[in-house]
């Protein structure tokens, strides 16, 4: 894991004191809210439906047990005993006091964390594969590249007043677990015919009001030019972005308006123009960063067998445990989706427990997934049973990874001032409806819920997506089918008129029944939908 050097620490510490002064001046009346708002947003502090909300950056979803423990401590000391893990691999606190916000940032800084660039028109927390460095199917660890982007763009003056927020994701595996094609820039680490490392560069994806799957802009970018090429793309966007219209400011709109070919031409031209400036991060700096991401000391000859005699444990292993690159090790997914629970929420005690378990069983490392779960990336198979027993005793052993009850849901109208409708109660009802053996019969089905068109709940990318809308002052829910955020990325299509709270749950049930009736051998819900099309689903839902 990356460790701050003295410069990183000095920057973050200075930022805390700067914010302490800004908050004090706001409270004393020296700053108006209009003056203060952009300053607090630069430190991840929003004013939400019930209170201030603080969004803490978890770079590419990776953290150690000391940091995780601090997140639990903050939840208990400054909030109401819990936190919410988000679809950007971050954590949000819902009940923050302005007068304590600088103290929280100081506590975060003491464990090499901050809330910088988690809001505003900046390059946001770079996201990545939650299995990075552990996955059996990756060609290299993508996180050093994510860290390089983070360092090269943090406080970079050229990227401090962008037209709009900007999201970058990096992966290095065939299976896309970071939804790279639904980002402003999606980067996939690949090797060319000569065995050299480089990136497939996708630009112009995104969800929100106008969703797009990013086109491939460059099939192979030599890895050492990652920064200059991103800079070229950002410059083209900065030059042409529709600053006159907030709904048209994202780079996806520019790529769409110019067309893939013309956008690519302009980026390549800009790149050639800036290459002589040598703005790329020197490889010696990359090597310095990469040295922090070497494998932990895996035990040679760790036993590969798992005693599956306890059927509940075996079920959990089959659903939540994933192949690791090292023999005798496994990747463990801790579901934050208990049946009837709030997706992504964890209590201070659960957060601290997961920190303890990471220290004990996973070389001190945890990951936050964009699906709002937690990963222990390096667990000895021989330790799985003991780990599972502790998780079970603490409500953290739901065996539902990628099943219909493993729902992504944004905070929605229960917490978010932009929301049209509540997301969480829909997730709770759905997980209660399907959270028995039925979800296993259905198999992989990614269900995603957003409380408004901003799509923080990734509804466009759900095999089944649900979008909350306001219909004459009451909550209404649209149903979408056929989305995917994976390597087979696609955008869901709306089935037709929306539903009320109970109606949407029934509609999902009808859709799953069509799948069960029509599926062929080996087909997931998404495969059947793609084969048979929308009509049979519409008939069942509205017929």
């Amino acid at each position: 894991m990356y460790k701050y050097d003295k410069y990183d620490q000095a920057i973050v510490d200075a930022r805390v004191e700067e914010f302490r002064d800004q908050a004090a001046r706001r409270i004393a009346g020296a700053l108006t809210e209009d003056q203060f708002k952009p300053l607090r947003l630069k430190n991840g502090l929003y004013l939400q439906l019930h209170a201030y909300m603080l969004r803490v950056a978890i770079p590419y979803g990776t953290l150690d047990s000391r940091q995780m423990r601090m997140l639990g401590h903050i939840a208990r000391k400054y909030d109401r005993g819990y936190g919410h893990f988000t679809t950007r691999q971050n954590l949000q606190y819902n009940w923050i006091k302005l007068e304590e916000a600088a103290d929280i940032l100081a506590d975060l800084a003491s464990v090499e964390m901050h809330a910088i660039q988690t809001s505003g028109e900046s390059i946001r927390n770079v996201s990545s594969d939650q299995y990075a460095g552990a996955a059996a199917d990756e060609i290299a660890d993508p996180r050093p590249w994510a860290e390089l982007i983070r360092q090269a763009t943090t406080f970079h003056p050229e990227f401090s007043y962008l037209p709009r927020k900007f999201k970058i994701a990096v992966t290095a595996a065939e299976e896309d677990r970071a939804a790279i094609r639904l980002h402003d820039i999606g980067l996939k680490l690949v090797r060319n015919g000569a065995g050299e490392l480089g990136f497939e560069v996708y630009i112009g994806g995104g969800m929100g009001r106008t969703p797009f799957v990013a086109p491939l802009i460059r099939p192979f970018l030599p890895a050492e030019h990652l920064f200059s090429y991103c800079e070229a793309a950002l410059r083209v966007w900065n030059r042409w972005a529709r600053r006159d219209n907030i709904h048209k400011q994202r780079i996806k709109i520019l790529v769409h308006d110019l067309g893939q070919e013309e956008f690519t031409r302009q980026v390549e031209e800009e790149w050639q123009a800036i290459l002589p400036n040598q703005s790329d991060v020197p490889m010696v700096e990359f090597d310095r960063i990469a040295a922090y991401f070497v494998d932990p000391p895996f035990e040679a000859g760790a036993p590969d067998e798992i005693d599956r005699s306890d059927p509940d444990f075996a079920l959990w292993v089959d659903q939540n445990v994933v192949a690791h690159k090292a023999p005798g090790y496994a990747i463990v997914n801790i579901s934050l989706k208990p049946i009837g629970g709030i997706p992504g929420d964890a209590s201070a005690e659960q957060i601290e427990l997961m920190a303890d378990l990471a220290e004990r069983y996973s070389f001190d490392e945890l990951r936050v997934t964009h699906a709002q779960n937690i990963v222990l990336p390096h667990v000895r198979k021989a330790d799985l049973y003991a780990l599972w027993q502790t998780l079970s005793e603490n409500g953290l052993a739901e065996a539902n990874l990628d099943l219909i009850s493993d729902i992504i849901a944004c905070p929605g109208l229960d917490y978010c001032s932009l929301a049209n409708a509540r997301s969480i109660p829909i997730a709770q009802k759905l997980s209660q409806r399907f959270g028995d053996d039925r979800q296993r019969e259905i198999g992989e089905l990614k269900l995603k819920i957003s409380g408004c068109i901003n799509a923080c709940g990734h509804h466009h990318a759900g095999h089944i997506g649900i979008l909350g809308v306001d219909r004459k002052g009451t909550e209404n829910y649209q149903l979408l089918l056929g989305g995917s955020g994976a390597e087979d990325a696609s955008l869901g299509k709306i089935t037709g008129p929306g539903f009320d709270e109970d109606g949407i749950v029934d509609a999902v049930e009808k859709a799953t029944q069509v799948y069960l009736d029509r599926r062929e051998e080996g087909e997931r819900f998404l495969d059947t939908y793609r084969r048979v099309g929308m009509e049979p689903f519409k008939e069942a839902i509205y017929g």
Binding site: L49, H50, L98, R422, I424
Partner: protein
């Protein structure tokens, strides 16, 4: 009967507050009809830093007290519907009944 309420957040704590005619309360039951005076009161109270981000909403006067007309403001008044243990009336099992 329809009415107008003035609501905002406490500057220091962020808590949702309601204008009572003489000051601010966390409980919507204490809110009063501000009629057409909401903007003027908001300007003065914001200036004195007794409230942040204040705005006027529509509400209905009921025998149980003022009820915000829009669901968003009703959720603001009570707390998240999915965490009734965190609402302003955690001991009252019916606390959420008027929100939805």
């Amino acid at each position: 009967m329809s009415m107008k309420l003035l609501t905002g957040n406490d500057l220091r704590t962020g808590e949702v507050t309601w204008w009572t005619g003489t000051g601010w309360s966390r409980f919507v039951e204490n809110a009063v009809d501000v009629d057409e005076h909401g903007e003027a009161i908001a300007t003065e109270e914001i200036g004195a830093r007794r409230v942040n981000a204040a705005y006027v909403i529509d509400a209905v006067d009921t025998p149980e007290g003022p009820r915000p007309a829009h669901i968003k403001d009703r959720i603001r008044a009570l707390g998240p519907t999915v965490r009734l243990d965190l609402t302003l009336k955690p001991a009252d099992p019916d606390a959420g009944s008027w929100v939805i």
